[in-house]
């Protein structure tokens, strides 16, 4: 009973918040609603008994990804009037994407109802969430898992390469050089003649 109430509550909040992500006028508010959506999804995971996945969702998406979203959105100087003007011209593309997504979801749903989907078989029952994950992730799907890791690594290096420029004339700090300074290298004793100053 409590589970059913919780499910409908969380599901309603998730959908309503997802709608508000699009509908909110202020981009920062949009990100806030997005966080609420993630959070409700995590709650749904917990109801399904996938506590590990739920906490991972909170940690990765809410704790890191959404913070970066918020970071970017806050730093941008968004002009609301300009954003509203472009709305109509982007409408056909947006509608196309939405229709394709809807069709895909319907097909998945139809396949599931027809019973043609393949489910992952958990080897042992009675193990914790985490162990069940490990048993599948590092055996059957080890190759795909590592490939995903490599894709992320490449993306990370790519981002660094794109933004790293070696510019001339920039004063940079070298922590090792700073630490290696001694009294002898860091200090110079000068005898100043009266009225001369240091040349």
């Amino acid at each position: 009973m409590l589970t059913v109430i919780s499910f409908y509550l969380l599901a309603f909040v998730a959908v309503a918040a997802a709608f508000m992500v699009v509908a909110a006028r202020n981009p920062v508010h949009s990100v806030m609603y997005l966080i609420l959506t993630f959070f409700s999804a995590a709650g749904l995971f917990i109801l399904m008994g996938a506590e590990f996945l739920a906490l991972l969702l909170v940690m990765v998406y809410v704790g890191a990804v959404a913070v970066l979203f918020l970071f970017v959105v806050m730093m941008l100087d968004v002009d609301f009037v300009e954003m509203k003007q472009g709305f109509l011209s982007y409408l056909p593309i947006g509608a196309l994407v939405a229709i394709v997504l809807l069709l895909e979801m319907l097909m998945v749903g139809a396949a599931y109802v027809a019973g043609e989907t393949k489910t992952v078989v958990v080897r042992e029952t009675g193990v914790s969430n985490l162990e069940a994950f490990g048993q599948v992730l590092y055996t059957d799907y080890a190759g795909i898992f590592e490939a995903a890791g490599f894709v992320l690594l490449v993306a990370m290096i790519g981002a660094i390469v794109l933004t790293l420029r070696d510019r001339d004339g920039v004063r940079k700090q070298d922590a090792t050089a700073q630490m290696a300074r001694t009294k002898e290298t860091g200090m110079e004793m000068v005898d100043i003649e009266p009225g001369q100053g240091i040349g």
Binding site: L2, V28, F52, L56, M59, V62, A64, F71, M74, Q173
Partner: protein
Amino acid sequence: MTMSLIQFWSDLSPLAWFGLKFAQVAAFVLILSVLLAFLILMDRKVWAAVQMRRGPNVVGPFGLLQSFADLLKFVFKEIIIPSGSDKGLFILAPIITLVMAFLAWAVVPIAPGWVMSDVNVGVLYVLAISSLGVYGIIIGGWASNSKYPFMGALRSAAQMISYEVSIGFIILTVIFLSGSMNLTAIVDTQAGGFFNWNMFRINPVGEYGPLGLLLFPIMFYMGVMFFISALAETNRPPFDLPEAESELVAGFMVEYSSTPYLLFMFGEYLNMTLMCAMFTILFLGGWHAPIDIGVQFIPPVFWFILKCLFMFFMFAMVKAIVPRYRYDQLMRLGWKVFLPTSLAAVVIVSTFVVFLGGSA
């Protein structure tokens, strides 16, 4: 006794069980709040003692009631909300900070069986909730619609995310050694005496035999790093850049007054105590006594509180004696020193567990 009571109520009806849990949580929150009032006083007293001042000593005997006087003063002042601010988020930010700070305590085991919710993924839960604490700061800084708070919020967000990564890796080494993510189980693997604590693994007849001594330097260093990362994570000096008063006045809290400010400060101290408790659980053996012989008459909760108080004392001492870091130095320490070191430690410890450990 308590277990049978819970059983009784849950048999009665789910609503009664809900009520009982609610009462438990309310009592816990109340006790924690009152304890925190005295911890804040302790922080100020230690700080004062290092600087050869007296500290608060007027309200009550030895100034013991100072925090309560401060509370009254905060609550009775007017709440000022800047006209240019985003009002809803402005009020929401301190509430998020406080709620997140309290939420994490749900899985912290204080003594055998004394835990609100003994979940299997307790460590992960604490990590997840503490990673949400940053929202209070960012939202507060942005909703103020002012320069200093915004700068403070940006600094704080970058800082907390950076140090969360290394904290995660450090906790991973502890999880490997315990073979569990349950906080109670982590504490129980450190039973027997201080030589079994993760911070001082100098037991030559332990799980890994004499070779286990090799883990001592690594885990001791992990403990030190966890402490420093905890300082950075809770925005405490020497890493209190988000509220560096010489540069940013009070950082993200500039525009806050009265009760909302109180909530921010309260949440911050609560996070500190949580970090003390986490350090105690992960590295100092939780409620287990340092020596297992002849001290059984002392209740376990005494040891837990004693260790937490010691860690809090360390936090206070660091605030009093260490000068503030510069921002680039802070980032360098997080990404270029802590991250590679903790990553290396994860590799070494996991290798150790796989090739020498029988049980894990």
